[in-house]
């Protein structure tokens, strides 16, 4: 038996991002350096003496006979102060540093550490000499941006008693704490991306992630630590929805993975986020954000890794006790990267050429979400929201189907809605959330005891409208019975006032739960008045055209809206009251 070490091998074959080496003593998922330029790669298969490697950089010009060296390490990320506000490629190389090292275009063979090893951070200890610590214990804090991040004992530590702890300015490589076991603790941890970070316990997700998006919070809420999929054909607004969530969700930390998507979109996030304010802290959104950008023309193997890099960073912040939300746009591109690598390996394909392990990889990934009790016995969560880009908008394709089997929220985007500029173009009939029951208690206590009832009522009206629309398509709306004509009008108000939300309007882009409740309640008030009047014989055309309700849509664009809603409610009552009187006589 040879011992594990930095053995060397020789390249035998190069075929795109997949290369074969011989004579290399490697283990699965070891990181290797390929060729004279030392391109970064990862072992993905071992066959006798042959080691098959996926390379994270372009392999043009690499020849058989060039050396391959094994680092003996797994693909890992650096975790510590400096993550926030960073933008990385799929293997945690900071793009900003890459620009300074190799210019405007991404060349290869350049390495850059994920965190700055020179920068000094003010470390404030929260434990003292003599305290005993275990894996995951928070030993100090660093004011990283406006967010106070924690320094923890590594999850792999055996723990011990502190013999020395420092205070002051240090780099991430300096030892800030020493244990009686001789273990030295630094501010930086290194963690392999394909291994989930341990927790004490997974808890039930029963607190909603408030997104400020009416259709999501109102009809299809997601819990903190939950999972959601946003599938939709191109042009239906996946990215706009993902970005709205990244901007407004009430998570403390946001990890945004642009996986195989457009370069210009990532640039937009980069220019916009530093300018936008977090509605709670008033600080730039960028200060709570980590971006991972592996655009569609960047190497495909790094795209495969980007999702793992992202979730590991998210888990690290979760371990500090934060609520983290992670957006992956798009998981289909990630699946395609797997397909491409798998096909180069000449593996037996599953459905539509995807590898047979597609379902397993997807479920492993989404299972890293959750609300947990951390090793430090605090509560933290990672919410995962994955965009899915089904070919031709066909939801029966393997990636969508395998995702739906795992996630609990399904926000179906609909090209028809986006074509008529109904945004967010989430189809209210096809979407669902399985968190409604677990979250209803929170809504009772924090929004209004009426809220759950209102939501059920709204869904009923929308469902009824869908049925009526079929008839209207055939005979026109005038042929409907009076009562149903009112239903159609109420449903229209729900759609146009409650569901439609303008992501580009400075006020409407975020809607608080209280405002959501007030708007929904006003529509319900109108419905009650309208049905009441109709029963007394007032013709529906009179009821559906009252002037008082025309002002309701404007409420969406007002910051101080309370008085206006009260006024509208009152005016509707008066106007319908007059109608009733007129027809009673």
């Amino acid at each position: 038996m040879e011992v594990k070490g930095n053995s060397k091998g020789i390249l035998k074959r190069i075929s795109g991002p997949v290369v074969t080496a011989v004579g290399l003593n490697a283990h699965m998922y070891d990181v290797v350096q390929v060729g004279d330029e030392e391109l970064m790669g990862e072992v993905i298969r071992i066959e006798g003496d042959k080691t098959i490697i996926q390379v994270y950089e372009n392999t043009s010009g690499i020849r058989p006979g060039e050396p391959v060296a094994n680092t003996g390490l797994s693909l890992a990320v650096e975790l510590g102060p400096g993550l926030l506000t960073s933008i990385y490629d799929g293997i945690q190389r900071p793009l900003e540093v890459l620009v300074s090292k190799m210019g405007n275009f991404i060349e290869r063979g350049v390495t850059a550490p994920g965190l700055s090893h020179e920068k000094l951070w003010e470390f404030v200890p929260v434990v003292k000499k003599g305290d005993s610590v275990v894996a995951g214990t928070v030993i100090g804090e660093v004011q990283e941006t406006n967010i106070l991040t924690k320094i923890m004992v590594s999850p792999r530590s055996k723990g011990g008693v502190i013999t020395d702890i420092k205070s002051g300015e240090f780099t991430i490589d300096d030892v800030v704490c020493t244990l009686d076991t001789g273990e030295e603790i630094k501010m930086m941890q290194v963690w392999p991306v394909r291994v989930p970070r341990p927790v004490t316990e997974k808890m039930n997700p029963d607190i909603p992630l408030i997104t400020g998006q009416r259709i999501l919070d109102g009809l299809f809420p997601i819990a903190k630590g939950g999972t959601a999929a946003i599938p939709g054909p191109f042009g239906s607004g996946k990215t706009v929805t993902q970005q709205a969530l990244a901007k407004w969700s009430d998570a403390q930390i946001v990890v945004y993975i642009g996986c195989g998507e457009r370069g210009n979109e990532m640039t937009e996030v980069l220019t916009e986020f530093p300018e936008l304010e977090d509605p709670k802290s008033g600080k730039p959104l960028m200060e709570r954000t980590v971006l991972i950008a592996n655009t569609s023309n960047m190497p495909v193997a790094a795209r495969e890794a980007s999702v793992y890099t992202g979730i590991t960073i998210a888990e690290y912040f979760r371990d500090m006790g934060f609520d983290v939300s992670l957006m992956a746009d798009s998981t289909s591109r990630w699946a395609e990267a797997m397909r491409e690598i798998s096909s180069r390996l000449e593996e037996m394909p599953g459905e539509e050429g995807y590898p047979a392990y597609l379902a397993a990889r997807l479920s492993e990934f989404y299972e890293r979400a959750g609300r947990v009790e951390t090793l430090n016995h605090e509560s933290g969560s990672v919410t995962v929201i994955g965009a899915v880009s089904p070919p031709g908008g066909d939801f029966s394709e393997p990636v969508t189907q395998n995702t739906l089997r795992i996630v609990k929220c399904f926000w179906a985007l609909d090209a028809k809605l986006s074509q008529r500029r109904h945004f967010p173009a989430i189809n209210w009939l096809n979407s669902y959330s399985l968190y409604l029951d677990t979250l209803s208690k929170w809504y009772d206590e924090n929004v209004s005891p009426e809220w759950n009832g209102l939501r059920i009522w709204a869904m009923e009206v929308l469902q009824k409208e869908a049925e009526l629309q079929e008839i209207v398509q055939l005979v026109g709306s005038d042929a409907l019975p009076d009562e149903e004509q009112i239903t159609i009008e109420v449903a229209r108000m729900l759609r146009e006032i409650f569901l439609q939300q303008n992501a580009f309007d400075p006020v409407d882009t975020y809607c608080s739960m209280e405002k959501q409740y007030d708007i929904m309640k006003a529509i319900k008030n109108y419905a009650v008045l309208a049905y009441g009047a109709q029963k007394l014989g007032v013709p529906p055309t009179k009821i559906t055209t009252i002037a008082a309700k025309n002002d309701l849509p404007q409420v969406k664009f007002m910051t101080e809206y309370k008085e206006e809603v009260a006024r509208i409610n009152k005016a509707m009552e008066t106007e319908v009251g007059k109608l009733k009187e007129a027809y009673q006589k």
């Binding site: 392999t59 058989p64 210009n264 569609s296």
Partner: protein, 459 residues
């Protein structure tokens, strides 16, 4: 340079060479036939035992007696400022009888990805003079916006009209057109060339022509040569470059042909599983870079097989590009030019390029209102077929008429009609004025009073 005579297998465009010295992946290869003809190819797979070479020209005439020379470098494109005004073949050789390009630089045609951190957000409005693009699906500098069309539709005319008219209002910066044709017919070539000559556009253009009877595999490099040239003009010489790629469908067919010859596991409809990544390596070569003057804007044309937008070619393209302009057969049959259907069309970067200071403050809201009105009016056409026009409410009848006006007055315009954005928006207001004012719910009162023809006349 060492010449190997160890060809072991030839299958379609692929040549398998045995027992060579180490050869680099994607290296350029020259194959010398027994009659002395030299053909070019590229290494697709390399190992100690054999090398797979993809030949960019026809493999007719290549046999086991042909010699193979490995050049030791990847494919490079000689580029220079003097390329403007030149017509080149799909493989980058002069086709206009002119001299060879004297290179100022030789660039790798693969093109590296622009670091997202180095990109600049596109925000400059490009006026194409076509209302359905300028007003409703605005093109901005640095965008990649394809035209989704079908066979027999006037996408070439539209592309030419855009190439002729596209300007950034008020700007006098250097601009250039890079035109790459893949698998187009001689007739189409003539149409393009005649138009370029007629309008004098050729002076500012570099033309790459791979015709229908040129080797299909050559189509794989044609767009890469074109984009390399475009990037050189834009990012080294500071030109604002408009790249027109036509027809991407032919490119994808060539990709499928090679995939099949390599006996790869096919993805949807026989296209290779890596087609998304491959297309992205072309489409993503558009944009602006912080601190540099030039820009690359891409307008690619693809014909949707069977007008099916869910076909893998338009589908994968749509996921990469920043929107799409959809050319519609029904409108074409009605005799409307340009037959652009705005409903499935989209420009993702539109919001960056419009509004006060760029086009006009009412732009976004007017567009939204037009979309909503046209979508509803268009739906009503189905209902009219069943119940007749008289059964519709007054409101619905107005919307129905609006849809007709929209197509006949707003969509329809002449081949040489160059509308300014003000013209287009004013026309939009004229049409919106045919609707009752209370239907204009998407526009604030303030804008209505400022731009609605009714109030303008009063003022």
């Amino acid at each position: 340079m060492k010449e190997y005579r160890t060809i072991n297998k030839i299958a379609g465009p692929l040549v398998f060479v045995e027992k060579t010295e180490p050869v680099g992946y994607e290296e350029l290869v020259n194959i010398v036939q027994s009659d002395g003809t030299v053909k070019r190819g590229q290494v697709l797979d390399t190992s100690d035992d054999f090398v797979v070479v993809q030949v960019f020209e026809s493999t007719a005439g290549i046999g086991r007696d042909s010699g193979v020379r490995f050049t030791g470098e990847t494919i490079k494109m000689p580029v220079s400022r003097d390329m403007l005004g030149r017509i080149l073949s799909g493989a980058g050789k002069p086709k206009d009888g002119g001299p060879d390009i004297v290179p100022e630089k030789r660039l790798d045609i693969g093109g590296a990805a622009i670091n997202p951190y180095a990109r600049q957000s596109p925000a400059d409005f490009i006026q194409t003079g076509i209302s359905t693009i300028d007003a409703t699906n605005t093109l901005v500098r640095g965008q990649k916006l394809p035209i989704f069309s079908g066979s027999g539709l006037p996408h070439n005319e539209i592309a030419l009209q855009i190439a002729r008219q596209a300007r950034v209002p008020g700007s006098t910066e250097d601009f250039a057109v890079v035109f790459a044709a893949m698998g187009i017919t001689k007739e189409e070539e003539n149409q393009f060339m005649a138009d370029f000559e007629r309008t004098g556009a050729l002076e500012h253009a570099v033309v790459f022509l791979n015709l229908a009877d040129d080797p299909a595999v050559e189509r794989i490099i044609t767009p890469r040569l074109a984009l390399t040239t475009a990037e050189y003009l834009a990012f080294e010489l500071g030109y604002h470059v408009l790249v027109i790629l036509t027809d991407m469908t032919n490119y994808c067919e060539a990709l499928r042909q090679i995939g099949a010859a390599r006996e790869e596991v096919p993805g949807r409809r026989g296209y290779p599983g890596y087609m998304y990544t491959d297309l992205a390596s072309l489409y993503e070569r558009a944009g602006l870079i912080k601190g540099l003057k030039g820009s690359v804007t891409q307008l690619s044309i693809l014909t949707m097989p069977g007008d099916d937008i869910t076909h893998p070619i338009p589908d994968l393209s749509g996921y990469i590009t920043e929107g799409q302009i959809v050319v519609n057969r029904d409108l074409h049959r009605k005799g409307i030019y340009p037959p652009i259907n705005v409903l499935p069309s989209l420009s993702r970067l539109m919001n960056n390029g419009i509004g006060e200071g760029k086009t006009r403050e009412d732009h976004k809201k007017v567009t939204d209102q037009m979309y909503a009105g046209y979508a509803e009016g268009n739906d009503l056409r189905g209902l009219v077929a069943i119940v007749g026009k008289d059964a519709l409410s007054e409101r619905d009848q107005r919307l129905l008429e609006f849809a007709d006006h929209f197509e006949n007055r707003f969509v329809r315009q002449g081949h040489d009609e160059n509308r300014t954005i003000e013209d287009s928006l004013d026309l939009a207001w004229e049409l919106l004025a045919t609707l009752p004012e209370e239907l204009l719910v998407r526009i604030d009162r303030g804008l209505i009073q400022k731009y609605h023809p009714k109030y303008r006349k009063e003022a």
